[in-house]
Amino acid sequence: MVRSFFTRTAIQFLLTSIGIFLIGSLPYLLFNMESQLEVLKMIERKELNNTLFLSDNIVMNVGAYVTNIIDTIAVIFSGNADQYYARGGVWPLFPEFWEAYLQSMQYLIASLFIALVAAILLTILTMLLPTHRRRLPKAFLFVMESLPDIFIILITQITIIWIYKKTEILLFNITSGFGEQAILLPILVLSFLPALYIYKYLLLSFEDEEKLLYVELARGKGLNRSRILLIHIFRNSIFTLFNHFKGIFLFALANLLMLEVIFEIKGFMTFIFQNGVLNNEIVTMGLFMVFLPSFLFFTVTQWFLEKSFNVMGDP
């Protein structure tokens, strides 16, 4: 049983890695990247002013695609990926990329943690309400989760500026400037939507559990409500929560990009977005830098959960 879990994980890991390489090099399949990059470099060196005579089409360069995949693999495994091209010059990739990565991951992990704690608290508070009183929080949840992330980020930012203009009290640093980093606000904003999603799924799973017979039995035995909720229902909901957590993680990553753009944080996602087009190995590396730790985390957690909840059917 344990061995099959590891084989499954290994195969999954391998396939996703192949997928990352296939996707990272995709621009080379569709565009004549080599010649386009040459032209771009000429323009940025001011050797070429008139581009009207140039034209190109979407192509299917299978040869260039395969070559680029092999090149990218070679570059990443040999550790030579230390330069990137931007703004008409070649720049060292490290430590800039690494620092941006660490900073963004701090934001991401901190806000996911806050989201998790807040969502669990909210769920338990809602569950303590009688059933007919839960409609209001649910309606609130529906409206809030329909709002796009950029709406929420912008509203928060604009509100804080508005409060500042009215009262001259700056609640948080809004944008990152020289030496000053906006830390608290981005984390709070980033945790908002994931918290809503965790709250939603947890509430659903809690309410499903609540209808099951063991809850009735526990009630019949005279256990009090909060004890059933906190210990029995909560424990059984963890598995459902974990299954949804992968999606929420991806969602938080998408939020992170928007957050970095709006708050002008020079983070990991902005770095990929700004330089990924011209340096496709940055996309591949970036994907791996997200994939490796999160895959490890998900696998270990799943293994741990399956073991402790005995899902695999071992005696």
Partner: protein, 332 residues
């Protein structure tokens, strides 16, 4: 269908979107857009304000830098934004339904292989993928691609990017349906693969496809908004013109094939976010309301009996009595 109309969320959401679309088309067809005024005068003819104007009775959502009414701009752009997202979502659904059926026919090992590859999409947001594939055409190497390519290619990328994941979803649903007993009997009776699909599986699949389709419209809208913030807008971004404009300050809208498209409004006005917040809030709110309407439709559909996963048992079997105050008579 009648039952669906009774769902207030479905009716409300559909009405909102249809009205927006119809209004948008009628507005462009019938109304001559009012000439923008860069200045506002009071009754004495003195200048009281300079464009952009903040939200007021005359400009409910404020105005842009030239004094155009933002409300009307949004109305005009609605047909492009919503229309394009419906088109993209339709493309996604059609291709995924075909893809899902093909996957369903394939042997399990190959399916697992593809599912493993598609898992890559769980580790990076779609916006980044789309950006990396669209940006070369519309921005980075914008000089070399023709205008039709600049419009069609991004749409194709937006359609294709989610086909793998959606196809797998459709295939999973088909697998679930295939486990039902009547499929076995249909096989025994000698129905061909496609006949079974058409006659016995499609009726179960179609309601689900409808829900995914509407959800996808919302997803596409969100991606449009994200791409707008990343300064890509679908349907003709011409970066060289933009840069030229920053230097001279000329009107930008003339060179865009799709004027007042919402994502484009976000992209154009993001530079004013701190000085004139309504200029960015207006299109973002338009996105938010539309997505809210779409989620309302999805919510209503999921709540309606035909679309629910588990059908409730018929209630008619046990006659019910309502006991109210009138049921009792007061006797001395």
């Amino acid at each position: 269908m009648k039952k669906l109309i009774k769902q207030p969320m479905v009716t409300g959401g559909t009405l909102f979107i249809v009205l927006l679309l119809v209004g948008s088309f009628l507005y462009s067809a019938l109304v001559e857009p009012p000439k923008p005024e860069k200045m506002l005068y009071d009754s004495n003819g003195d200048i009281i304000a300079l464009a952009p104007f903040p939200p007021s009775a005359q400009f409910p959502l404020g105005s842009d830098i030239d004094g155009n009414n933002f409300m009307l701009k949004l109305l005009e752009g609605a047909k492009f934004t919503i229309g394009l997202s419906i088109l993209v979502a339709l493309g996604r659904i059609v291709l995924s339904a075909i893809g899902g059926y093909l996957l369903f026919l394939l042997p399990g090992s190959f399916r697992k292989f593809l599912a493993g590859l598609a898992d890559t999409f769980h580790y990076a947001p779609v916006t980044i993928f789309t950006y990396v594939l669209i940006a070369p055409v519309v921005m980075t190497f914008s000089w070399s691609y023709s205008t039709p390519t600049k419009i069609i290619f991004p749409m194709l990328v937006l359609v294709l990017i989610s086909v793998p994941v959606l196809s797998l979803y459709v295939q999973k649903e088909l697998d679930l349906i295939a486990q039902k007993e009547f499929i076995d009997s249909a096989k025994v009776m000698g129905g061909s693969h496609f006949h079974i699909f058409k006659a016995h599986m499609a009726p179960f699949l179609n309601p689900k496809l409808l829900i995914i389709f509407i959800q996808q419209v919302g997803q596409v809208l969100i991606i449009f908004a994200h791409l707008g913030l990343l300064k890509v807008f679908i349907g003709g971004t011409d970066v060289r013109v933009l840069e030229y404009d920053f230097e001279t300050g000329d009107a930008t809208t003339a060179s865009f094939s799709m004027s007042n498209e919402w994502a484009g409004l976000i992209a154009q006005n993001f530079q004013y976010v701190n000085s004139f917040p309504w200029m960015i809030l207006a299109p973002v709110t338009a996105f938010a309301l539309t997505i809210l309407a779409i989620n309302g439709i999805v919510y209503g559909l999921k709540a309606s009996p035909t679309y629910r996963r588990k059908k409730k048992k018929a209630k008619a079997s046990s006659p019910s009595y309502t006991v109210s105050a009138e049921s009792f008579e007061l006797r001395n």
